[in-house]
Point group: C2
DNA sequence: GAAGTTCTGTACGCGAACGCACATAGTGAA
DNA sequence: TTCACTATGTGCGTTCGCGTACAGAACTTC
C-alpha cells in the first residue's frame, strides 16, 4: 500500500512506465481539494490538469437559467482537464469538487510537453478520455429513459467506486444539483432506498449498507460505464 | 467548388496539410451510405473509420429493452469511429446512417498508422473528438432539462447544418427513435412547428421554411454545440 | 440552552410525456 | 381501382417529476 498521499494512488499516474514516471513526478504538486472548489469554469482556459487521489470531481454544465446537470464524475481513475491535450484548451462545463480530498496537478504547459512526446502518457490519456466519453453518453441515455430512483442508485455507485469505504458526505441538496433534479425528489428516492435497507443517511452523510441491492435497483447504465471503464484502464505497473 | 464527390467535402480530410493529404488520399475509398446502414454495432470491433461527405450518421445507444437514444450526430464536419484512434477499438454504441449519401472510409490499420505518425492528422482528430464530447455532454443536459419541442428544434438544426439544402428525408417515427421519445410526441411537436410556419412536412419529408424561427424555439443547447464545433474546426487549407 | 441555520420530510396541484387504442390519409403495387 | 401498407393525427387515463409551501429535526453559534 502507498502512503497517505502518493501520485500512484491515481490510476493514470500509476500506469506510467518508469521513464515517464521519473520525468513527470518531480513536477506534480499535491493540492488539497476542498468540497465545492471550482477547478475550472465554463469557457475558461485551463491552467492545470488534475489527477485526483482520494477526491471526486464532478463535471457539470450550468445553463443560462441556473439549472445544472452532471455530465461525468472523475475520481482516482482519471484526470480533470482533458481538453488541454485534446487541443481545445477550454470546454463549456464546470469542474467542481464533489467529495473533498487531494489531487496531484500538473501545469498545462508541462502536460502538453509530455503529451507531445507521444509516449505512453498519450495513449493512457486517450484511453481514459474514451471511457469518459462512454460515461457522458450513458448519462445522456440515462437522463432520457430512467427514473430518478434508478439514477440515484447509479450515481451512488459511481461515487462509491471512487472512494475508499462505503460512506459519502453529501447532502441531498447537492445530489439534486448533480443529477439536475429537485431536492425533494432525492429525499423521496433516498427514503425508498433507506426503507429497503440499501443505505442509511442523515444530514449529509450517506452510508451504503447493501451494495448488491443498490446495483440491482440501478439501471443498466452503471454496469455499462463500469465495464467500459475497467476495460479501458491499463493494468497497474507497480502492483 | 468540388466535384460531386471529393474527399475534401469532409472537413477533417480537407484540413490535412499537403503531405498527409498525399499520403492518405490514395487509400480512401468512397462508399455509399444508404439509409439505415449500420456502420458498427455496440461492442463490435471497428474495421474502418468513416468520413461522411453528404451523409449523416447517428451514434445511438440501444438499451436492453430496445429503447434507444441518440448520443451524437456526425456529418461532413467529422468522422465516425473515433474509438479506433482513442485506443479502445470498440465502443458501446451503434452507428447508423440517418440520412443517405456517401462517405470516404479508411481501414482501421491505415488510420492508426497515420495517427501514430503524430502529424497534423492527430491534432485534427483530437480536436474533432473534443467537439464530439461537447455534443454528447450537451445531449445529456438537453435530455434532462428541455422539452420535446425544444429538442426537436435542436435536432432539426443539427441535421440541417450537416446537409445541403433545407430538406431532410426522415419520418417522425425515425426522429422519435433518435430522440428516444414516442412517435406521437414528435407528431405533436412537429405539428406545432408547422402551425408556426417554421417547417413543412409530409410523409417523411421535412422542409425547413424559417430557420431563424427554429433557432429561436430551440434551447440553448444547439447554439452551444454549434459554437464549440465551429471553434474547434480548423480553417480549411484548400479554400 | 436559546436562537438561528441547515437538512430533511410531506403534501398538493400542475404539466409533460407515456402507453395504448384507433382513426385518417397519402403512396405504391396488383 | 382496389388493396395493402406506411405515415400521421387524436384522444384518454396514468405516471413521473416539477414548483411551491411549510413543518419538523438536527447541528452550530453565541
Amino acid at each position: 500500500m502507498y502512503p497517505a498521499q502518493d501520485p500512484r494512488l491515481n490510476h493514470i499516474l500509476d500506469a506510467l512506465p518508469t521513464l515517464e514516471h521519473e520525468r513527470l513526478f518531480p513536477h506534480l504538486k499535491l493540492v488539497p481539494m476542498p468540497l465545492g472548489m471550482v477547478l475550472y469554469e465554463s469557457g475558461a482556459t485551463l491552467r492545470h490538469i488534475y489527477f485526483p487521489t482520494d477526491s471526486i470531481v464532478s463535471l457539470l454544465y450550468v445553463m443560462q437559467d441556473g439549472a445544472s446537470a452532471e455530465i461525468a464524475v472523475v475520481g482516482n481513475e482519471g484526470a480533470v482537464g482533458v481538453s488541454l491535450f485534446m487541443g481545445g484548451e477550454t470546454t463549456p462545463s464546470r469542474a467542481i469538487v464533489q467529495s473533498a480530498g487531494s489531487a496531484y496537478r500538473l501545469t498545462g504547459a508541462r502536460l502538453k510537453q509530455e503529451f507531445n512526446r507521444h509516449g505512453e502518457m498519450l495513449h493512457i490519456l486517450l484511453r481514459y478520455t474514451q471511457s469518459l466519453i462512454t460515461q457522458m453518453a450513458q448519462t445522456a441515455v440515462c437522463n432520457r429513459h430512467h427514473s430518478l430512483d434508478q439514477q440515484l442508485c447509479r450515481w451512488l455507485l459511481l461515487s462509491l467506486d471512487r472512494l475508499r469505504g462505503s460512506e459519502l458526505k453529501m447532502t441531498q441538496e447537492l445530489i439534486a444539483n448533480m443529477l439536475g433534479v429537485r431536492r425533494e425528489g432525492v429525499t423521496e428516492a433516498a427514503g425508498k432506498l433507506q426503507k429497503l435497507g440499501a443505505i442509511r443517511y442523515s444530514r449529509g452523510k450517506i452510508t451504503v449498507l447493501d451494495r448488491p441491492k443498490l446495483e440491482k435497483l440501478s439501471c443498466e447504465c452503471y454496469a455499462v460505464v463500469k465495464k467500459e471503464s475497467d476495460r479501458l484502464a491499463l493494468p497497474n505497473r507497480s502492483s
